[in-house]
Assembly symmetry: C2
Homo-oligomer: 356 residues x 2
Amino acid sequence: MSLHPVILAGGSGTRFWPLSRRSRPKQFLPLASDRPLLVDTFARLPPLARAQDSYVVCGESHAPEVRRLVPSLPLAHLLIEPAARNTAPAIGLAAVHVAHDDPQGVLVVLPSDHHIGDAAGFRAALETAASLAQDGLVVTLGVRPTRPDTGYGYIHLGERIDPGGPVAHHVRRFVEKPDSERAKAYLASGEYLWNAGIFVMRADVILREIARHLPGLDAALTRIARALATPEYVATLATEYPGAEAISIDFGVMEKAGGIACVPGDFGWSDVGSFAALPEVRPADAQGNVVQGEAVLVDCGGCVVLSSGRTVAAVGLRDLVIVDAGDALLVVPKDRAQDVRAAVDALGRRGATKVL
Amino acid sequence: MSLHPVILAGGSGTRFWPLSRRSRPKQFLPLASDRPLLVDTFARLPPLARAQDSYVVCGESHAPEVRRLVPSLPLAHLLIEPAARNTAPAIGLAAVHVAHDDPQGVLVVLPSDHHIGDAAGFRAALETAASLAQDGLVVTLGVRPTRPDTGYGYIHLGERIDPGGPVAHHVRRFVEKPDSERAKAYLASGEYLWNAGIFVMRADVILREIARHLPGLDAALTRIARALATPEYVATLATEYPGAEAISIDFGVMEKAGGIACVPGDFGWSDVGSFAALPEVRPADAQGNVVQGEAVLVDCGGCVVLSSGRTVAAVGLRDLVIVDAGDALLVVPKDRAQDVRAAVDALGRRGATKVL
C-alpha cells in the first residue's frame, strides 16, 4: 500500500499574532516543540509514511519556507495554490497529482498546524484508516472529546464496521460546531467525536466524491489533470483553480457523502487554536505557567509567557497571555485569546503593517 | 529673603523597574511629563527661587546625570554623599553649606521625585512657609488627604498660629504610616494632613534641632563645617558622613522637636509611588488608560501601558500595568504595583544584573 500524506499548509490566521505574521503563519511557528508545527507534522509520519511520498498544498508566498523546512519533499510535490480556496479544492488538487501516478494511491490528509501528543497511537489509527480506505471507504479520524467544546465540528458515530476487526465505525453524520448545550449532550452521549480534519481515502475515491457533490470543482480538476506533466500545467492551474468554489471538504463532501468510516482515537490531539491552548501541548510549571525565554514569574498561575530576547517580569498574574515577539508585544487574558484578531484589525486600520 | 531649595536626589528605589535602573533611579525618569521628575522639580521653583541658589544632595554615581539635567546648578551646590544615609544627614549637610555663606538662609527641602499639579499654589504655600521659617520656625507643608492612604505619614494639626494671618497651624505631632482603620479616622477628622516630606527652615534652626536630637550627626556636621572651603573637605566628608546615623528627618528630628508649623495645601501633590499612581499625574483616555508609545488597546480599562519602540497590543485587560523598557518588560496588576521589588529581587538572585 502506498500512502501519500497530503499536508494542508494554506492557513493564514491571526490568532498567534504577534508570533505569526502574514509571511509566517501558524504552521511555521515552533508552538508545540522547538520545531515548527509543519516540521512536527512530517516528523511523526515515519515509519508509516515518508516525506518523499508526501504532498504539501500552500500559497505561493509560503512555498519557499516549506521547501526550507522540509527539504526532503520532492519539488513536484509542493502544490502551490494560485489562490486560497479552502480545503475541498486543495485536497482535490492533491488527489489529481496522486492519481496521475497511482490512481488507487491512498491520501492521508493532515492539517499542518495541529499537535499530536501520542505519535505512535496516531500512526496506529492512520494505519487502520488506510486499510479501510484501500477498500474504497472515505475514512476520517475522530478524536474522543475531553470537554464540551463549541469550537469544533463533531462526528456522530454509527455501528461498528466489523465488530471483530479493528475499531472503526460507520459515520451517521458530520455536525457543525454546536452550541454549548448541544456540546454537553454530545460529550455525555459518548457517540460523538471531534472532527480533527484528518481524512484518509484513495485518490480515485475522493475524486469520484468531488465529481458527485462539487461538479464545478470536478470540472476544474479534470482540466488541471489533463494539463498535468505538460507545459500548460501552471497556466491551466492559474486559470482553473481560482474559479473553484471555496468550500471545505467537510461541508462540500463529507456532510453529503454516504459510506464514510471513522476510526476513533486518543492520541493527544490539539488543534492549538490559540495561545490559550499552549498548556495542552507544552510542559507547564507547578503553577500551570507555560514559559519560554528569559522570564521571571512571581506569584503567577495559569499564564503563558513567551519571550524572545527580552527579560519579562510578571507579578501577581492569573491566566494571562504575554507574548513578546521582538517588535511587537501582546497581552491578553487566556479567555480572550480568540480576540487577538481585534487587535490585529486595529493595527491594520492604523496602517501598522510592518508588524502584521 | 534668600531661599535655598535643597533637592534630595539620593533615592534609589525599584518600584519603577524596568524604567528605573540602578544607574537611573526614579527622579531621572520622565514619569509625569516629558521631562524627568528632577527637572520638573526645578522648573516649578521660579519665580520663588532659582536653580542658582539651590542645592542637590545625591550619590556619586548619579551626580553626572544631575549636572547634565540641571546645568544651571552651581557645581559647588552639588553635594555628593559618600554613602546614602537617609534624609537627616542629607539635610544637615545642605544646612552646613547654606549656613557657611548665609547662616539665616532659608532651606526649602524638596524631594526630587514627586509631582505637583498646581505649581502656583505650591509656591504660594512655600512662600507662607518661608515667612514663618524666617521667624525661626521649622515649617512643613501638609497635603490635604483625598483618601485613607496607609502609605504616607500624617501630620496632626493643632491651633492656627495666627488666625488673622495666612493659614498655618501648630503641629500637634507627626504620626507614622497608620493602619487602614486609623487612616479612615484621620481622613474623617479633617485634622490630619499627609506628610509630603517638604520642609522649610533656616539653616541655623535646623542645625540647632539636629544638635538637640541627633548629637552624633551634629558632631559629624560640625567637623564637616570646619573643613568647608578647605582642601580637607572631601576627605573629611568621606570620613565623617558614612558614620552618621542613617535616619530620616521625620523620625530623627520632626517627631521629637517642638514648635513646628504646618502650612496646609491643595496643590495636586503626588509622590508618584508606583506605576499605579501614573493616572494621578498623567492624562488618561476615556477608559482611564494611561498610554505612552505605540500601543493599541482593545476593550481595556484603567491600564497603564508604557511602550518604547515596540508595538504593544492589549485586549480585554482591566487595571493592568504593562511597561516595556526595551530590554525588559514588566506586567503587573495595578494593585500589586508595589510588589515590583519581588521581581527585581528574583532577577537579582538569577544574576540578571544587566537589566537591574
